[in-house]
Amino acid sequence: MPDFVLSINRQQLPVQVDADTPLLWVLRDELGLTGTKHGCGEGLCGACTVHVDGKAQRSCQLPVSTLAGKHITTIEGLHPQGQHPVQQAWLKHDVAQCGFCQCGQIMQAVAFLKATPKPSVAQIDAAMAGNLCRCGTQLRVRAAVQTAAGVKP
C-alpha cells in the first residue's frame, strides 16, 4: 500500500492506504478523526463534509490520491475548544437532535458563511440543501446560520 502525507488540521499526517481510499475512511479508520460521518457514500447527504483549501467538500467522494498539497480541515480542527462562532451558534439554538448529521452541517455552514457573510434565508436554504437531516432540525439550522452571520433569525 502506498504512503501519503496529508495536511489535516494544520498537521502533516502520514497514512498508508490504497490510493482510491476516500478521505472519509482515511479520517475515520486511520486517523481516529471520527467526527466526519458516513451517511450515504454517494455525496448525497453531506454528513461527510470537510474543508479542502477552505471549500466544503464531501469527503466520501475524495480519493486520498487527489489530496496532495491540499489543506484539509475537519470538524475537530475547526476550533481548539469547539467554540468557533458557528459552533457557538449551534449551541445557542440547541440545533441537534440525534446529532449524527450536525458536524457535516456545521462544516458546510462555516465554508458558506466565509463566502457569503450576510446571506438571505433563500441563500442559506440553497447552501444547506446538500445536507440531509433525518430528525428534522432544519429550522434551527437556519436560525443558527443566521445567528452566526449576525442576522436576526
Binding site: 457514500g41 454517494e42 475537530e76 440547541d94 440525534c98
Partner: protein, 733 residues
C-alpha cells in the same frame, strides 16, 4: 470504601414501589460491587442513578438510550429537580445495560419519560433526603429548618451553607425512611423550563459519541451482504477471491440460525440470524471494495416474482372478498343508504424505510471465557442480550452492553439483527468487530413500515352528523394469509352509532417493523382523510365537523381517549393558524388531529401550489397535549422533527418492490426533504397541563399527512388518497 450502594431488593422497591414505602437496609459501610473508584474514600452512591465522586463532582445517570428524542437530558432533569441541582452543575453519564433498571432503559413507544417519571424523582429525592439529614446532624438543627438549592443545604436562620460534596460522606451513613416526599410540582425549578441538551458541546465538536466512532485495539470492520429477495440464502460466493483482496481478513457465508421471521410480533419472541455473506477487513474501505467484488448466487424463494404492482392487485382482489368482521355496531349499510351525503374513498399508503442518518451498526468484542461486550445502539438494550443468548448461545450473565448515542432510530433499532450479525462475526473471527452497513444495504434490508390500504364508505345526516361508517382494512401481513389479531377500537369507534370494520390480509415478503408511531402512522391518514372528505360532503368546515364528531362525552375507557383534550388541541391549532381566514386560490389550509401513545396533537398545514403543481408548505401550526412537558426545548424539537419527518414521507418517499427486491437504495431514489422545501415556520403550542407526562417521540407524526392532503384539496380541489405526493400530478387551473 464507604460508599453505599442500594441493596438490590431495596432498589427494586424504589423502582417498582408505590412511592410510599421505600424500606430497605443500609449498612454503614456496605461494600457492594459496582461502585466507582477502588480506594477508600467518601463517594456517595445511594442508588443506581446518581453518585457524588470523591472530587465532589455530582454524576447523574441517564438510564434510557438517547436517539435524538432528548431523554439523555429530560430524564436527568427529573433526578436533578428532586435532588435540587442545576444541570449545569452535574455530569450526565449514559447508563450501560443494567438489569436492575428494567423497563426504565427502554426507548420506544414514547414511554421513557412516563416510565421514569416517578422512579427517577424518587431516586433524586432519596439522595436529597440523606444529604439534608447529614447537614441536620452536623449542625444539630431539625430537618424542617433546612432547605436545598443548587447543590447546597442551607440553614437560613444561621446562614450556614454546605455543598452536597461536603456532606456526601456523612449522608452515606444514613438510613432511608419508609416515606420520602416528592416535590410539589408547583415548586419545580428545572422541569418545565427550556434546557439545552447535555451532549450539545460534544456533538458540535465531533466527539466520538456513536457506535461506529469506537475503535478498540485490534478492531476489524465487517459488512454483511444479504440477498436482494428477503430470506434468500447465499448458495455460493467467490469467497477465496475476496479473501485474497488487500485488507480483507476473512470472508464467509453467514448461515441463518432460527426461522427467518419478517413479522414483527413473531420476531420479538423468536429472534433469528439472517443468512448473508460476511466480509471482515482491517478497515472500512477494504470491506467495501470486497463487497463490490462479491459474486454470489442466491437461493430461489417463492417470492422472487413479488412486486408492488402485484401487492396492489392483490389488495384489489381481497377487497372483493367478504373479509373478517372486526366490529359491527348498529347497521352501517342501512345508515349509509339513508345518509344525506356519503363518501366512498380508497386510500393507499406505501412501504417506508427508516433512513436514520446513522446506518445499522454494532461493535462486538468477545470477552475471555466466552462472553461478549456489545456497544449496541439498541432502543431496548435488553433485547440484544436475549437474542445473543437464544441465537448464539452466549450466557446472559456474560454479556455486557454499552449504550452509545444513537444516530436516529424511529423504531428500527428495536431489532436485534445488527447486534446478532456483529456478534456472530466476532465469535467466528475471534476479534472485536465493528459492523458497518452501507446506505444501500440499510435501505434494502430494513424492517419497514408496511403498506396498507383502506376503503372507507361513510355518510352524514342533514345536520352534518357522522352516522354511518364502513371501513375495509387491507392489512399487511408477512407471508401469511391470516389476518393479524388487532382490536378494532381506533377512533372513530365509539363516536358513530353505525360502524362496521372489516379486515383482509395482503400478504407480502416484506419484513415489517415498528416505524415511528405504529400503527397510527397508517390509520390517521385513512381516518382523518375520510373525515376531511366527509366535512366537504356535508358542506361543513373541517374543524367544526371534527368538534361536532368529538362531542361532549368523557374519556373512553377502552382507549383512555379524552375527546375534550382533542377538541382543545384542535381549537388551539386552529386559532394560532388563522383558520378560517380566506386564502387565494392555489393556497389552502388543512387540519387533522390524532391521539396516539398517550398524546393529543392537531396540525394545521398551510401551503400553496403553483399552477404547474409544485407544492410549497408555508407553515405548519401544531398544538400538542402530552400532559406536563419536561423540557419545552426538546419537546419543541420532537414536534418540529415529526412534522418534517411526516412531510418527507408524504411528499417524497416510498419503497417499491420489483422481481422480489427493493428497487430503491439511496437518497437519489428515496429522498428526504431538503432545506429549501422545509417550511419556514413550524409553530408549536403546548397545552399547559399538570397531568403526569406522556411522551412525544411519536404523537406528532400521524396527523400531519392528512392535514397536508386537506390543505392540498383546499388549495386546488385535487383530492389525494395515496402517498407520496410525488406520484401525482398536481397542476391545476
Amino acid at each position: 470504601m464507604s460508599g453505599v450502594v442500594l441493596q438490590r431488593r431495596g432498589f427494586l422497591a424504589l423502582v417498582a414501589g408505590s412511592g410510599l414505602s421505600l424500606a430497605f437496609d443500609l449498612h454503614a459501610s456496605a461494600l457492594t460491587g459496582g461502585s466507582v473508584g477502588a480506594q477508600p474514600g467518601h463517594s456517595f452512591k445511594p442508588n443506581a442513578f446518581l453518585r457524588i465522586e470523591l472530587d465532589g463532582r455530582i454524576v447523574l445517570i441517564a438510564p434510557a438510550p438517547e436517539m435524538g428524542q432528548g431523554v439523555k437530558t429530560s430524564l436527568p432533569m427529573l433526578l436533578a429537580e428532586e435532588l435540587d441541582v442545576g444541570l449545569d452543575q452535574v455530569t450526565v453519564e449514559q447508563a450501560s445495560l443494567d438489569a436492575t433498571m428494567g423497563a426504565l432503559q427502554e426507548a420506544g413507544g414514547s414511554t421513557s419519560v412516563q416510565k421514569n417519571w416517578l422512579p427517577l424523582r424518587r431516586a433524586g429525592a432519596a439522595a436529597r433526603w440523606m444529604l439534608v439529614g447529614a447537614a441536620a446532624q452536623a449542625w444539630g438543627v431539625p430537618r424542617a429548618a433546612l432547605r436545598t438549592e443548587r447543590g447546597e443545604v442551607i440553614h437560613d436562620a444561621s446562614s450556614k451553607r454546605a455543598s452536597y460534596a461536603s456532606l456526601a460522606a456523612a449522608a452515606a451513613q444514613l438510613r432511608l425512611p419508609d416515606d420520602i416526599p416528592l416535590k410539589d410540582p408547583g415548586s419545580f425549578r428545572l422541569v418545565g423550563r427550556r434546557q439545552p441538551q447535555v451532549d450539545g458541546p460534544a456533538i458540535v465538536r465531533g466527539a466520538p459519541l456513536f457506535c461506529g466512532d469506537q475503535r478498540p485495539k485490534g478492531c476489524l470492520v465487517a459488512v454483511v451482504i444479504k440477498g436482494p429477495v428477503f430470506g434468500a440464502k447465499p448458495l455460493e460466493a467467490n469467497i477465496d477471491a475476496l479473501k485474497a483482496m488487500p485488507g480483507v481478513v476473512d470472508a464467509f457465508i453467514l448461515e441463518a440460525i432460527g426461522e427467518w421471521t419478517g413479522d414483527l410480533m413473531v420476531r420479538s419472541e423468536n429472534p433469528c440470524l439472517q443468512a448473508g455473506v460476511a466480509v471482515v477487513a482491517r478497515n472500512t474501505w477494504s470491506a467495501l471494495k470486497a463487497r463490490k467484488a462479491l459474486q454470489v448466487r442466491w437461493s430461489q424463494t417463492p417470492f422472487d416474482g413479488d412486486s408492488s404492482d402485484g401487492y396492489r392487485a392483490e389488495a384489489q382482489r381481497q377487497l372483493g372478498l367478504p373479509g373478517e368482521v372486526w366490529r359491527n355496531d348498529g347497521d352501517a349499510e342501512a345508515a349509509l343508504k339513508s345518509a344525506s351525503a356519503t363518501i366512498d374513498a380508497f386510500f393507499e399508503l406505501p412501504i417506508l424505510s427508516h433512513n436514520s442518518m446513522e446506518t445499522m451498526s454494532c461493535l462486538a468484542e468477545p470477552l475471555p471465557g466466552g462472553g461478549m461486550r456489545l456497544t449496541s445502539p439498541s432502543q431496548y438494550p435488553s433485547v440484544p442480550v436475549e437474542a445473543l443468548h437464544r441465537v448464539l448461545g452466549i450466557p446472559k450473565d456474560r454479556i455486557e452492553l454499552r449504550i452509545p448515542r444513537l444516530g436516529g432510530a424511529f423504531g428500527r433499532r428495536w431489532e436485534s439483527d445488527f447486534s446478532l450479525d456483529a456478534s456472530a462475526i466476532a465469535l467466528r473471527v475471534k476479534a472485536p468487530v465493528l459492523l458497518f452497513t452501507p446506505r444501500e444495504e440499510d435501505m434494502r434490508h430494513d424492517y419497514y413500515r408496511p403498506f396498507e390500504s383502506q376503503r372507507i364508505r361513510a355518510g352524514v345526516d342533514a345536520k352534518g352528523k357522522l352516522v354511518a361508517w364502513d371501513q375495509d382494512r387491507l392489512v399487511h401481513s408477512f407471508r401469511s394469509p391470516q389476518t393479524p389479531k388487532i382490536t378494532a377500537r381506533q377512533f372513530p369507534v365509539n363516536f358513530i352509532p353505525n360502524l362496521r370494520m372489516r379486515a383482509r390480509t395482503v400478504a407480502s415478503n416484506v419484513p415489517e417493523g415498528a416505524y415511528r408511531a405504529p400503527p397510527a402512522n397508517l390509520h390517521a391518514f385513512f381516518v382523518e382523510g375520510a373525515l376531511n372528505e366527509l366535512a366537504h360532503a356535508a358542506k361543513m368546515d373541517a374543524l367544526a365537523f371534527r368538534l361536532q364528531l368529538l362531542g361532549e362525552g368523557g374519556e373512553i375507557k377502552e382507549t383512555r381517549f379524552n375527546p375534550a383534550r382533542m377538541k382543545a388541541v384542535l381549537r388551539l391549532a386552529a386559532s394560532k393558524a388563522d383558520w378560517g381566514r380566506p386564502l387565494p386560490k392555489g393556497s389552502g389550509r388543512g387540519i387533522a388531529s390524532w391521539y396516539s401513545h398517550g398524546g393529543y396533537v392537531a396540525h394545521v398545514v398551510e401551503l400553496s401550489v403553483s399552477r404547474s403543481g409544485v407544492v410549497k408548505v408555508q407553515r405548519v401550526t401544531s398544538a400538542v397535549d402530552v400532559g406536563r412537558v419536561i423540557n419545552p426545548n426538546g419537546a419543541e424539537q420532537q414536534v418540529q422533527g415529526s412534522v418534517i419527518d411526516a412531510l418527507s414521507g408524504a411528499l417524497l418517499q416510498q419503497i417499491t418492490l420489483k422481481n422480489g427486491a427493493v428497487e430503491q437504495g439511496n437518497f437519489h431514489d428515496n429522498p428526504m426533504l431538503r432545506m429549501p422545501d422545509v417550511p419556514r415556520r413550524i409553530d408549536v403550542h403546548f397545552v399547559e397541563s399538570t397531568l403526569d407526562p406522556t411522551g412525544l417521540g411519536e404523537p406528532a407524526y400521524p396527523p400531519l399527512a392528512p392535514a397536508l392532503v386537506g390543505a392540498l384539496f383546499a388549495a386546488t380541489g385535487i383530492q389525494i388518497r395515496s402517498l407520496p405526493l410525488s406520484r401525482h400530478k398536481l397542476n391545476w387551473s
